[in-house]
Symmetry: C2
Subunit: 314 residues, 2 copies
Amino acid sequence: MKKYAFGVDIGGTTVKIGLFETNGQLVEKWEIPTRKEDNGSQILPDIAASLAGKLSGRGISKDEVEGIGIDVPGPILQDEIVNKCVNLGWGVLNVAAEVKKLTGIDEVKVANDANAAALGEMWKGGGESHKNVVMVTLGTGVGGGIILNGKILPGNFGAAGEIGHMTMNLDEDQACGCGKKGHLEQYASATGIARRAKEVLAASDKPSKLREIENPDAKAVFDAAKEGDELALEIVDFVGRTLGLALATISCVVDPEVYVIGGGVSKAGEILTDAVKKYFVKYAFHASEGTEFALAELGNDAGMYGAVKMVIKD
Amino acid sequence: MKKYAFGVDIGGTTVKIGLFETNGQLVEKWEIPTRKEDNGSQILPDIAASLAGKLSGRGISKDEVEGIGIDVPGPILQDEIVNKCVNLGWGVLNVAAEVKKLTGIDEVKVANDANAAALGEMWKGGGESHKNVVMVTLGTGVGGGIILNGKILPGNFGAAGEIGHMTMNLDEDQACGCGKKGHLEQYASATGIARRAKEVLAASDKPSKLREIENPDAKAVFDAAKEGDELALEIVDFVGRTLGLALATISCVVDPEVYVIGGGVSKAGEILTDAVKKYFVKYAFHASEGTEFALAELGNDAGMYGAVKMVIKD
């Protein structure tokens, strides 16, 4: 294998790029802005120029580069093609072919960002030493990634690991971002937790520290729960039950070794994982009750690590 | 590849054995009884004797046998080890090692029976021409198998594809066979459908053909529904909703190309798959709405076909 590889994590506002040695060592990471004007047509040329500049600056020939792994906030087909990415202004686009043309580097693989983050966490983060990992990212929404035998499971329609859109509640009257109703994302995301707090506060007369805060967010809820606030603890219990049930269901499908929980909400730490584990064990098929739980460790770098891992062989 | 291979499907009462050519052609199939006495210690020697007899009867040398694939009604670890199989009287048993010793044939692979059936249906049945298949077997219980990239997904605890134990209803007061409550198996199995019929008939005064039958079973329900019986149609709708929701959830995890529906209940045919599809589309993440549905085609031979496929390369 050649000495270097790039991991490129394309987000809605910045592109994070890492130059790695193929032994897994990060050499340098940097960011460039994501230019979304003109339907995002400048994004890939900007990346190619940045990679070329880095190589020439360091005196590295492109023949020393094993490949480029890229992740994108959209569904990916055949490790190559983005099937519409509203965030970037892209329609159907063969990202791998474009980047090959722009860089002259032939090994280019593309993944969905949540899937890449899962692979990164398996490789260098909370799922290290495992090969079968499910990652759940609890942010503004709920993302997920399924890693089996050390590889991303993309799914036939690029929708494997879209666990934020598992239907958890047939009686929900509000719509998920995707348009359907009662999805996991509506309950376990930062947004969902804040919504729940608002509902619980309105429906009850119990005293709560949360009443002192205007529009308490997920962090406020977990902070109050850690101080023993009863209403906040009820909300955490509800989040734990919903997420524990969802993960127990996932174990009946892919039965992973470990769940890695990441995203902003996961900063709550053990109070969250304890609540999830309690209900996971309650609802899981008995054989899977011993599945491990870990917190994500790579933060915003997970996607970049996972992206480069796609082009680095073991 | 050598010319022959065996597929062995070990059930609670009989062992089905197939002699195949490795081009996929079935040469002959036969059965022997499953002798469960003495903790099932005779089962593997009986199979080895039957294989040896068949080879000598046909003048085939064991050097012409590529391998033996075996499936068992229990959880399997590392394609080799049965992790307790109550039905056969087995504890933890390295079936692959035993069979290698007994037969002198070195390539032996072992799978769970529902997983083997899924692989068989992918290879020669309802999932033919696909590589990413989820099979659901609706019999006395509900079994499942997940095939990704043409291979069985066994799961870390041998529990991948245990979709009968997905929790669908947190308010259920009766226990599933596994001891927990509200599992898919309690609603979509033949037993579950008969139970639902009993409950619906007791809770309603509506006239129904089902009232003329003592303890109507799943077949009676589907037959009456096909004749337009209103209560029977309600039950079919309920089964379709429950199963459609479960499969929509599975698509958020592994996003397969096709669902293959088998087992005794699937003999109901299109009235069942139509009801399932209706709710699948309602609950699925939009990207997966076009997932295909097919009925199983191999019946009781599916396990034997899947078993042999494990030792036949493409």
